[in-house]
């Protein structure tokens, strides 16, 4: 479902150049991208999310090579097909939990749909917070809102950035299960980027990133 090949990203100026391993993620095969900080995990995630555009390489989701998309077309593709769960919980502070989900549909160009909103909130157990402001919720509840928002458009690809790093063992396991179950239900590819070793047993496919220095060495001396 998601396939990438020869993804390369070079930061402008004298910044480092990243060469990322090729990926093949099927709908039923949740994938863990594991690596220490500084290994380019965020860069990789933002490439996969269509926030950064790679200098070289391909990434295809359901046959669309969105590495070639730019501007409005890329924005539209990202909004419509990719559900992004960020490490930090960002919200539209002025809006309620429910409206935060509604605006995600709107920006993706999807019609308003109360049933989808209600089901999504229900499945994540936050239906009774629907009219609250996100900042009134606990950190754990906030995270579930961000997960709900990533799912509300029924994306083909769900990307999660360090979803468990701040949680204890039980909760980490709970979130990991939640993500995998929801992805399976939606038939979406799931990619989790983390340095959290505890998640290893939950994921059938694990790709480990080397620290930047090792990558550079690998490139100089193939």
């Amino acid at each position: 479902m998601l396939t990438t090949s020869h993804l390369t990203y070079h930061y402008p100026g004298t910044g480092p150049t990243f060469h990322f391993p090729d990926l093949q993620v099927a709908a039923g095969e949740p994938t863990l991208l594991l690596g220490p900080s500084g290994s380019g995990k965020s860069t990789w995630l933002h490439l996969l999310a269509g926030i950064l555009t790679p200098q070289a390489g391909h990434m295809a989701l359901d046959g669309t090579d969105y590495a070639q998309l730019t501007g409005a077309a890329l924005d539209r593709f990202r909004g419509r097909h990719i559900g992004l769960i960020l490490q930090r919980a960002y919200f539209l502070e002025a809006l309620s939990v429910r409206e935060n989900l509604a605006i995600a549909r709107r920006t993706a160009g999807l019609p308003a749909d109360d049933t989808v909103l209600n089901t999504t909130l229900d499945q994540l157990g936050i239906a009774h917070y629907a009219t609250k402001r996100p900042r009134q919720l606990s950190v754990g509840e906030q995270q579930r809102v961000t997960i709900a928002r990533a799912l509300v458009n029924w994306p083909k690809l769900i990307l999660a950035d360090e979803p468990t790093s701040a949680l204890d063992k039980d909760n980490a396991h709970r979130v990991s299960t939640l993500l995998r179950n929801r992805a399976a239900e939606l038939g979406a590819a799931l990619v989790v980027v983390t340095h959290d070793e505890r998640l290893r047993p939950d994921f059938p496919q694990i790709i480990e990133l080397q620290p930047l220095t090792a990558q550079t060495a690998a490139r100089v001396d193939p």
Binding site: T43, I51, L52, R76, Q87, Y90, L92, A94, I103
Partner: protein, 416 residues
């Protein structure tokens, strides 16, 4: 959840910043619109009541005061002039004068001025008797439309006048014969609506009685024939004469100069007096207008600062919107909407405030001078004011909006 409703919610989410910008925009727009409205009303009132009068002749004194008292029935008359001296202006066969209307002022009834005159007064303002008849004898009153309505005067009602122009029980002419309403004018939209008309002789009759308090036998000896020309009375005085010329204004200027130089009276050209008055009022108006522009400038600054300073805090939100599929254009229009909505809503609030303010001023004017101001007139300029507010809002928001559109999503979301 459209961009527009998101913009509104964002504005409501920081109520104090929004309120400050809104109030400043309202003050600026309100001040400018109030000046526009007042100016318009004033010129309307003055110009409508110009009534083609080329010259006002009366006793020496302030020219403005003579014009105000004789044409607009504001402020006190300058004094009286002997009928003998103004007789030529009342001559219907005068070669230059189309219309000469005598006025006797000085008495009032419950704050409404009683104007002693001749039926030619109605010609000046195109007034017609709507109810009852024209006067036939002294003490007959033909009431202006709004004066009759507000005083509740009906045909056949009688009343006694007061000396002077203010409402004061002690100044009522107790011994004078009462006035009787015989006619009511149709509304004209001019000063004729506001006053009580009577033959010039009525005022003499009132004061005859007054002067001969102790000698009642003589009080009713005077009999006046209100149909004969005023020039028939030799020893009487009146307040002023309103003159409409036949030809061009050169005659007016010459006659004015000759009266001012050769007689104990003065002659005033209303159009020149009005121009001078507007110029004087215009200076104060200009200062207020400048003040309005300064406040508008401050409100632009306030909208700009409000949006710009919110950018730092909202960077994450904006990046989030981008990650959810909103393009840079959406973010640009979001901030533009917030800015222009504040400006336009503020301007609308300002228009409401200025009309309320005008309503208050109108009340004051109608109690103090009996003039009717229409406070719910909307001028085309006010539409332009709203359009201007839109432009101002867009201008104030454009730099913050441009910055918002350029938020670096990757750097913001990865926390670096």
């Amino acid at each position: 959840m459209s961009i527009l409703s998101l913009a509104l919610r964002n504005l409501l989410y920081r109520p104090w910043t929004t309120a400050l910008s809104l109030i400043l925009a309202a003050l600026g727009a309100g001040l400018i619109s109030l000046i526009l409205l007042l100016n318009w009303q004033l010129e309307q009132q003055f110009d409508r009541n110009l009534a083609g009068i080329n010259l006002v002749v009366g006793a020496k004194g302030s020219p403005l005061q003579l014009m105000m008292s004789s044409m607009y029935h504001i402020s006190s008359p300058t004094g009286n002039v002997p009928l003998d001296a103004v007789k030529p202006f009342l001559n219907p066969a005068h070669p230059y004068i189309a219309l000469g209307v005598p006025l006797s002022l000085g008495d009032s009834y419950r704050g409404r001025r009683i104007v002693g005159t001749r039926p030619t007064f109605l010609q000046l303002y195109d007034a017609e008797v709507a109810e009852g008849t024209m006067w036939t004898q002294p003490m007959d009153i033909v009431a202006g439309a709004s004066a009759a309505r507000e005083l509740g005067l009906r045909l056949g009602n009688t009343f006694r006048s007061s000396h002077g122009l203010i409402e004061d029980e002690d100044l009522t002419h107790q011994d004078a014969p009462p006035f009787r309403v015989v006619g009511i004018l149709a509304p004209t939209g001019t000063v004729a609506d506001l006053i009580l008309l009577t033959p010039a002789e009525s005022l003499w009759a009132v004061h005859d009685a007054h002067g001969e308090d102790h000698d009642h036998d003589h009080a009713h000896e005077h009999t006046y024939d209100v149909t004969q020309p005023l020039s028939a009375y030799a020893d009487k005085t009146i307040t002023s004469v309103l003159i409409r010329f036949k030809g061009n204004s050169v005659t007016a200027l010459n006659m004015q100069r000759s009266i001012n130089e050769n007689t104990e009276m003065q002659a005033v050209t209303p159009s020149i007096q009005l121009a001078e008055l507007y110029a004087t009022v215009g200076q104060g108006e200009e200062v207020l207008r400048q003040l309005g522009y300064v406040v508008v400038g401050v409100s632009i600054l306030s909208i700009f600062i409000g949006l710009y300073s919110s950018l730092d805090r909202r960077r994450g939100e904006l990046a989030l919107l981008r990650s959810l599929g909103a393009g840079p254009g959406k973010l640009f229009s979001l901030l533009l909407l917030e800015g222009s909505f504040t400006a336009v809503a503020g301007a609308m609030l300002g228009l409401v405030i200025s009309h309320l303010g005008l309503a208050v001023i109108a009340r004051y004017f109608s109690t103090a001078y009996r003039y009717d101001f229409r406070s719910w007139v909307f001028l085309p300029e006010e539409g332009w004011l709203l359009l201007g507010a839109l432009v101002v809002g867009v201008l104030a928001a454009s730099l913050p909006a441009w910055r918002a559109a350029r938020v670096d999503v990757h750097r913001t979301l990865s926390g670096s």
